[in-house]
Symmetry: C2
């Protein structure tokens, strides 16, 4: 079959559905995010999306090639929301840190969507803009291109990896989440000091620490290491 999809900017005819809704790619993405947020990740099916939109399910295929295509659009939208209102300060470390925390926070706001979207490369507007910004921060800071690219890669994947992991915890059904917490308090806190001395010695610290996200600390470690490498390469260049 020929391509059903017409690029958004070229659309001219806006024909309402039987139920009077005027569709658009934007409306479909927003509805998808809302659907996932309200009824969980499993709720995102083309048929349900159609029902939520007030349109025939197959109408979605006039705007997206497949559900995967739609997912990419959702992912890109989340990146875009993370960048809303962000301004660089010129301090590379502060800027990078702020951007990482923003990305993480944006995904935490939509855990179910994050689970599906965090690991995709979209190649769309919001993503490329973010990539350009991060690379700009690193190169302006003085990282050589090779190092800047490696750092960019580590920074982005670490942010998304933690985002997905933390999102998964948030997206768990209440019962399962309680069970997870229970594991730390019941199982780990009661391990025998003879067989598990290190866990026993740190049990209290562990149970409190595991309740929070490890991302901010991990991010600081990454920035620490990056700063050390930047200083080293500066010394080398000077000497």
């Amino acid at each position: 079959m020929a391509d059903r999809v017409i690029p958004e900017p070229q659309r001219r005819r806006r024909r309402p559905t039987k139920q009077g809704v005027v569709l658009s790619a934007e409306l479909i993405v927003d509805t998808a995010i809302r659907l996932i947020g309200q009824h969980g990740a499993d709720a995102l099916t083309v048929r349900r999306l159609g029902a939520a939109l007030g349109a025939d399910p197959s109408a979605v295929y006039r705007y997206f090639h497949s559900t995967d295509d739609l997912l990419l659009a959702v992912a890109d939208e989340l990146i875009g929301r993370a960048r809303q209102g962000w301004q660089p300060t010129g301090d590379w470390r502060a800027d990078l840190r702020a951007m990482g925390l923003r990305i993480h926070a944006s995904y935490q706001a939509h855990p179910q969507a994050a689970l599906l979207a965090a690991h995709r490369t979209t190649g769309r507007v919001h993503e490329t803009t973010a990539v350009e910004a991060i690379l700009g921060i690193l190169r302006t800071a003085g990282f050589p291109d090779r190092e800047a690219v490696r750092l960019y890669h580590a920074f982005v994947d670490q942010s998304l990896g933690f985002a997905a992991l933390d999102a998964a915890a948030l997206a768990l059904p209440a019962a399962a989440a309680a069970a997870d917490l229970q594991v730390w308090q019941a199982s780990y806190a009661r391990l025998d000091a003879a067989t598990h001395p290190n866990i026993a010695a740190t049990a209290e610290l562990l149970t409190t620490d595991m309740r929070r996200s490890g991302y901010p600390y991990a991010l600081d470690l990454l920035l620490d290491a990056a700063e050390a490498r930047l200083r080293a390469s500066a010394v080398e260049a000077a000497g």
Copy 2:
């Protein structure tokens, strides 16, 4: 319906299938892992599993409550395989690095299962053993308890986060995976230098670097930062 599943140790009757195969939970798990490994992530469906076993698909439900139940069994089996043969050297940094790479590698070998397993806290033998080992490495190295716990948390979540992220990429349907690669080569490589100068300047480095996992580099950064903090706290303690 009453429970179809009878716990493995209580099984007595072993009735061969039409095709002469004698089923067992173990055989089903092994076949599932083989199926994933040989034919990709999509290959693991109950119907295909039945075909691969030489049995009716529904026979699987005599051994597992659901596909999720089966996948947990698969995940458990993988953890068991992954921990085989590891020995600490006494060099904390080398040990931590080796363990991280091992965890990552074992998940990459079975991406589909990794996706489901990476974010669950099981509290079972293999998991507690690993936690104990990592904490032991850090505390023996000289990290104070509070720092050791934070580092443990960051280390584990970084490993699992990258593992899940990289596994997700491998677990993608072939078409989606190809699309992801395409994005870097087609989309990013052709961005205008005027609007995206930093991407344009590093396009070649980017496309080659994004093909690999960012984990080893990110892990080294984390270890760098940890080592620096350890040295700082030693100096402080001495002075």
